[in-house]
């Protein structure tokens, strides 16, 4: 079948595409993911090219399912990539920590994409690097699309060499950064895996798990040496001797930009592996320095380690980082310039704050023709929103938060609308309506719905069934009709069958556009009686076909 990427070509790619090409160059054989910005393009691209490269790729039901399944193929000897956004790593964590103690036979790379400044993450600003404390797994941090490709290849070799999963951590400004990338040799590896039994490798029963933990921790030094040998964590020399900078990820680029602007040259240690941190190198770097700037995204994790290490060699050194730029929001050139001006006592004219009155911001809204307009219109017509609690969830239906509807009182994480509705219904006399999408239904709702049935609360659950995972770019999910799943999925799992099996009697399936009157009637019924009710509003997203139709053009 036609190959998409040609050796030697220089293509404009974003970081996520760089990861895909890196995995192809490493001969990846199986890929598991659940969509989530800023990681989604990794899955999207694999979905479109998997047949061309003979790769097994699936959209799994959620991230822990993706991780466990990926562990399965890696245990059986296949080179495996699993990709998710940061919140997905929370969902997968229960499997991830024990997995770190095992030894996959095939190389296994796990991509986790953070979103500093929450550009596309309603829930919170999270730094996934903190996971290292329980994982002791290598965490590589690329800063450009080119590095995203190279580091993915390195991660596969590293994983095969040390028989451990390796994590690639990106942030939005790396995943969605565009730049030139040179395509290398892509070799396809088609072989079936074999699961060879070896309990001590794949099973984490205690007390053996403690031995596995000791082994895992003892790898640190070896991996540190290995990374040193292949030239990661480089120091670039600078003219000024007594001040140095330690950078990671995209913050490295911001600092370089600021240095250029001020025409200053500092020695820089660029941290490519957050774990293991190159501690010896850091210690040497700290010697004879008066000041150190640390530029990293989100939490001051490298900074804290540097502070601890400095106690040994150079307790006087002044370390400038999040004290100056703060712990909230993403890094940028303004922030690295601020660090430089503090460290070098430069006179830097910050662009003066201008007093301009900007017109109001355009908030997100449903696309023209979106079925959700009809659902919210029906709600708005039947309900005084002050009288009812709306527990929201994660998906396009969150746009109901914005004007003109403003019907969303809570949001935590995928599936949480149901738990919150249950708790609020149990503790108040108020009417509660819970919103949930179809992809989210499969991802995170079943335990909550079972709990609502079993422990008996009476919310109205509206399932926004647009037959696709719309918000993240229209990826298929288990309920997506076969006609929209051109590249995978042999089954269409019906939400209503699951609900009926759980004993939900008060169930209506309707088309919110064509049967809007019926929807309004159901809402009115709910307001009158005190009974659990589920309404599935089923009408395809206007762009339900988008992912499949999109032609691959490189």
């Amino acid at each position: 079948m036609k190959k998409i990427f040609k050796k030697g070509e220089i293509l404009p790619l974003i970081g996520n595409e760089g990861i895909v090409v890196g995995a192809l160059e490493a001969s990846v054989q199986s890929v598991f993911t659940y969509p989530g910005t800023p990681a989604s393009e990794i899955g999207n691209l694999f979905y479109k090219i998997k047949e061309n490269y003979g790769i097994y790729m699936e959209y799994s039901t959620n991230e822990i399912v993706a991780l466990e399944s990926g562990a399965g193929t890696a245990f059986a000897g296949l080179k495996t990539l699993v990709a998710m956004k940061h919140f997905g790593a929370n969902v997968a964590l229960d499997a991830l920590i024990p997995l770190a103690h095992t030894k996959p036979r095939g190389g296994m790379v796990i991509v986790i994409a953070d979103d500093p400044s929450c550009h596309s993450s309603a829930q919170s600003e999270q730094d996934s690097r903190i996971l290292w404390q329980n994982l002791y797994l290598p965490i590589l941090e690329p800063s450009t699309p080119g590095e995203a490709k190279e580091f993915t290849k390195i991660a596969f070799t590293l994983s095969e060499t040390f028989q451990k999963p390796v994590i690639i951590r990106t942030t939005t400004r790396v995943s969605h950064q565009g730049g030139p990338v040179k395509i290398g040799q892509i070799k396809i590896q088609k072989k079936k895996g074999v699961f060879k039994k070896e309990k001590e490798r794949f099973d984490t029963m205690p007390p053996f798990v403690l031995k596995q933990k000791a082994d895992l921790i003892s790898l640190k030094e070896k991996i540190e040496k290995y990374l040193e040998k292949i030239g990661l964590n480089k120091i670039s020399p600078g003219k000024i001797k007594e001040i140095g900078a330690i950078t990671s990820g995209v913050s490295h680029l911001y600092l370089l930009e600021s240095l250029k602007k001020f025409n200053i040259s500092l020695p820089i240690l660029k941290i490519d592996s957050f774990y293991p941190l190159p501690s010896k190198k850091i210690i040497n770097f700290l010697r004879k320095k008066k000041k150190i700037i640390v530029a990293e995204e989100i939490i001051d994790l490298i900074e804290r380690e540097v502070k601890i290490l400095s106690k040994e060699v150079n307790p006087q050194v002044k370390i400038l980082g999040k004290d100056i730029v703060g712990l909230v929001g993403e890094m940028n050139t303004e922030k690295t310039s601020l660090l430089l001006t503090e460290a070098l006592k430069l006179k830097y004219q910050r662009t003066p704050k201008r007093k301009i009155k900007l017109p109001v911001k355009r908030t997100p809204r449903f696309c023209p023709g979106c079925p959700y307009w009809s659902i919210f219109n029906a709600l708005a017509k039947e309900i005084k929103k002050e009288k009812v609690v709306f527990t929201g969830d994660i998906g396009c239906y969150m746009i109901g938060y914005f004007p003109p509807f403003e019907m969303q009182d809570t949001s935590l994480c995928m599936g949480s609308s149901l738990g919150l509705a249950h708790g609020i219904d149990k503790s108040t006399k108020q009417k509660v309506i819970a919103f949930i999408g179809d992809s989210t239904f499969f991802h995170a709702s079943l335990p909550n719905i079972i709990n609502i049935v079993n422990n008996q609360s009476n919310p109205l659950i509206i399932i926004f069934d647009n037959q696709i995972t719309a918000m993240t770019g229209r990826q298929p999910h288990p309920g997506t009709p076969l006609k929209y799943k051109t590249h995978d999925g042999k089954k269409e799992i019906k939400i209503e069958k699951i609900l009926t099996a759980l004993g939900i009697e008060n169930l209506t399936i309707l088309d919110p556009i064509k049967e809007n009157q019926l929807l309004r009637e159901k809402i009115r019924e709910f307001l009158k009686e005190d009974k659990l009710k589920v309404v599935i509003c089923r009408h395809p997203c206007r762009y339900v076909n988008a992912l499949e139709k999109a032609k691959l053009r490189y």
Partner: protein
């Protein structure tokens, strides 16, 4: 050169970025860009940072006040990004505004009032109108604005590289339309 592309989710700003990217590489130049996906694309504001240079440049983001060129597919959106503009900034803006819940009207003079103090030159062009007339749809307006920027030599990219890039990015039928839109840029 620092170019800020802005518009509303669904207008194809990310595709315009792709066109620029290919044209830049065709000429052996370097670029670095940054885009956002997700909620912001659902009819909200979209902003793409695009930096071109002869050699490697670093930050994927343009600093406040640092844009040399702002191309906007909407008058209101152009005024939303004046933070990135300064006395050296050229604006190329389509003369259109798509109303939204909180704002029903926004005129050329509303935009000029905000942007004029922070610009070297402002072009307000009838790209959507002309694309609608000549090509039956205003979806091509972004390409027309790129055409204008290219023919006026505001962006350092040749017509030939731009058409090559259009061909790379669009499938055959859409390429023809976009090429026409690009050439319409000459007449704007």
């Amino acid at each position: 050169m620092n170019i800020l592309l802005t518009g509303i989710g669904g207008q194809g700003i990310i595709t315009l970025k792709k066109v620029l990217s290919y044209a830049v590489l065709k000429e052996g130049k370097f670029f670095r860009s940054s885009e956002l996906h997700g909620l912001s694309q659902k009819g909200g504001e979209v902003l793409v940072h695009f930096r071109i240079a002869d050699q490697e440049i670093f930050s994927p983001l343009i600093e406040k006040g640092g844009a040399d060129l702002i191309i906007s597919l909407d008058l209101h959106q152009a005024s939303r990004v004046v933070d990135f503009a300064s006395k050296k900034t050229i604006f190329i803006v389509d003369n259109s505004f798509s109303p939204f819940f909180q704002l029903k009207k926004f005129s050329q003079s509303d935009f000029l009032k905000i942007a004029s103090p922070f610009s070297k030159k402002i072009f307000i062009l009838e790209a959507s109108k002309i694309c609608q007339e000549k090509l039956d749809s205003d979806v091509y307006k972004g390409t027309a604005l790129l055409g204008f920027a290219c023919f006026q030599k505001i962006i350092p990219l040749k017509e030939k590289s731009m058409t090559w890039a259009l061909k790379k990015v669009f499938p055959a039928d859409l390429f023809q339309k976009n090429k026409k839109a690009f050439l319409l840029g000459k007449t704007l």
